[in-house]
Symmetry: C2
Subunit: 414 residues, 2 copies
Amino acid sequence: MSAGIRHDDLRRRNRAMVISAVRRAGQPSRTEIASATGLSHSTISAISADLIGEGILTETKGAGQAAARRGRPQVALELNPAAATVIVAVLTLNELSAAAIDYSGALVSEDRRQLTTATITRDELTSELTAMIRRLMSGRPSAQPRPLRVVLAIQGITDAAARVMLWSPITPHRDVPFADILEREFSIPATIQNDCNMMAIALRWRDPSRYLENFLAILLSHGIGMGLVLKGQLFSGTQSSGCEFGHMIHQPNGALCRCGRHGCVEAYAGDYAIWRNAVGMNEASLPEDGVSAADMQAVAVRARAGDGPEREAYRKAGTAIGYGIGSLFALIDPAPVAFVGAGAATFDLLEPSIRKAIAETAGGQHPDPIPFDIIPDELPLMREGCAMQALAFVDLEVFAAGPAPAEGGGKAVA
Amino acid sequence: MSAGIRHDDLRRRNRAMVISAVRRAGQPSRTEIASATGLSHSTISAISADLIGEGILTETKGAGQAAARRGRPQVALELNPAAATVIVAVLTLNELSAAAIDYSGALVSEDRRQLTTATITRDELTSELTAMIRRLMSGRPSAQPRPLRVVLAIQGITDAAARVMLWSPITPHRDVPFADILEREFSIPATIQNDCNMMAIALRWRDPSRYLENFLAILLSHGIGMGLVLKGQLFSGTQSSGCEFGHMIHQPNGALCRCGRHGCVEAYAGDYAIWRNAVGMNEASLPEDGVSAADMQAVAVRARAGDGPEREAYRKAGTAIGYGIGSLFALIDPAPVAFVGAGAATFDLLEPSIRKAIAETAGGQHPDPIPFDIIPDELPLMREGCAMQALAFVDLEVFAAGPAPAEGGGKAVA
DNA sequence: AGACTTTTTTCGAGCCTCGAAAAAATAGTG
DNA sequence: CACTATTTTTTCGAGGCTCGAAAAAAGTCT
């Protein structure tokens, strides 16, 4: 299947191991890196000397913790924030935001802006995006190096190569080659990612103790999205960004979904579906103008007040989500779930029926209850995920390869 | 995540590459191996000389095809059949079968036997299995080397480590540690695998042009099973053998399934479910004694004869399968499907409703129709899959590591 | 028979990792 | 305060591996 290992790959891979060990551990000593990677001390010493010489790592001068142990004290290494910059952007319903992130993952600057995503033209959309990124890049302090990667997260489906937005619920435009557009504009490698996938990546960085090998991030909002990590790997479709959890079939020939089909999970659990059931609207038709956040809050208030169609609407939503999760768990085995987004704020109304439905499925046959987390604010999570995705690219594809052999300029090899 | 690459891993990995290139290509020349692996000619020359010296590869003397091209003729290499033997066994409803396979994948000898799996005791089951394997091993020609691996396929769920049968529909016994039992008995590494997973592996070897990167193998029989290959990798659950496709929820609170839950795909598409609907039995109860093959054939005959409850039963089964596949395709994108097993013989009755249901799901939104294949005879497929699984272990874990450095005995290093 | 072509092997160079030993840096100790 | 014990980091030579170039091998073509 894959290719053999050339001799020159060896150093590249081991450099990547060291960089990623430092990114994960924060401020490890060489000894810690050696035991984390399984490589010998001499190898770590050689590689880290190279990386320091290239300006990718630095020795921490702060001497953060006085270990006060006997013997020569460990010298902590850390990522050099000035080694690179990456640009991240997130496009969600009616809002575009972008940020510059340094190599250590810290925010350098950011910008956000309202737009009417449903009606904006294709050209306006791309020019708003490129203009915002251009402002970030031109406004950066001179000390900050030129960005090495752009990652854009969108609500919707991308192709498997992460270059084209195939479809999105927030705009009528299809097949927009954002990666090509950004690369042409800024001459930096760019990818476009599904928003829920970026949430999943961010969760793993935020709390590896819970979100490590296998977990789900479910976005409850206008639509229902999912990011899935299996065996430590972000799971994506074979031809697209995949994981259209919201469009698994909950009820054959059931309620009309925004996607035009019937009985999808989203047709019961999306904002519009909950509202539709709460006001007693026919399940065969869609609310004309979408549903505002205020409308949804009003529905939630009435649902919490007591029994009635509003509470029943949330119950139906939870049942759809729960059966969907249960069917998924029949395939992949149970895993922790993070519920993210505005809809997660009403999780108290959903949880009983979600748990009840899961218990009725194959995935509910395991002894321990599935751990749930609630994260109502999705934007920071998406941005963090994009940043980690972009930085991982720089780590693996740019810095692991070693310094360019040719003429000087940027970082010299000391 | 993973460990760094030690220097000694390098040769091991590249040996593995060469072995697997030969296994895939059959009789490649060194030049072909070089281009398939991306390694240099000199490296291939050195590695293949080692492998020939160890008796793992041989130069093909037969000179099969007189290429009649100009220049020095290529020398074909092939796997040495006498390099190793593996044992495979398949346990299905009321039948146990086993075979010895040589290193090239050819059958050496086989055995099969009827048992009443529903009522056999745990001890009888394991002693039948070990006795059959013992007969295969003792009866082998003296030229044939001692087996290096045992792989057992069962209908049911195994743990993720492939060591324990957690649950099976064909026997009441649970948590049977078959791998430990076999390893203790024969002192050979053993694993236990889900039957449908082995079918999927076999399909990739049989027809890589269709079944390469992403595909499904669905077993239609008493129950409904699935093997899934994604991105060239066999997909398994995180804690178990996973992929309990038959127990995805088709109809919330629907028909009673053999598993005790309601509305599973299997509760509409398993043999017993089709029979139950065909004879107008209540969906809330189960046929007491299972359903015989003769009964099922009678149902199929009546269904083919014309409209009526029998045809409707198959229609319902197809709808359940189709929606299940469609929901799965919402997650992973469409892929070719092979329908295997006795139930596939009635595929003509199922296909229209399967296609109709898929078309109503997110997975049906792709332009090209999903390719289907029909393979009614599942046993040879399972056996082939086990053999490839066992041989892959020998390739990667035994032969790629190189000759044991210590005292002689088996293969000398020429 | 000799030229030509293609495959395979040989050989030295260049890297890389490893283990052992040395060097460095600091806490205990009398 | 000097000295020892301890731990981390670097240095250095050895051993392996792959690679490219050149040579050798084994045929076909003219």
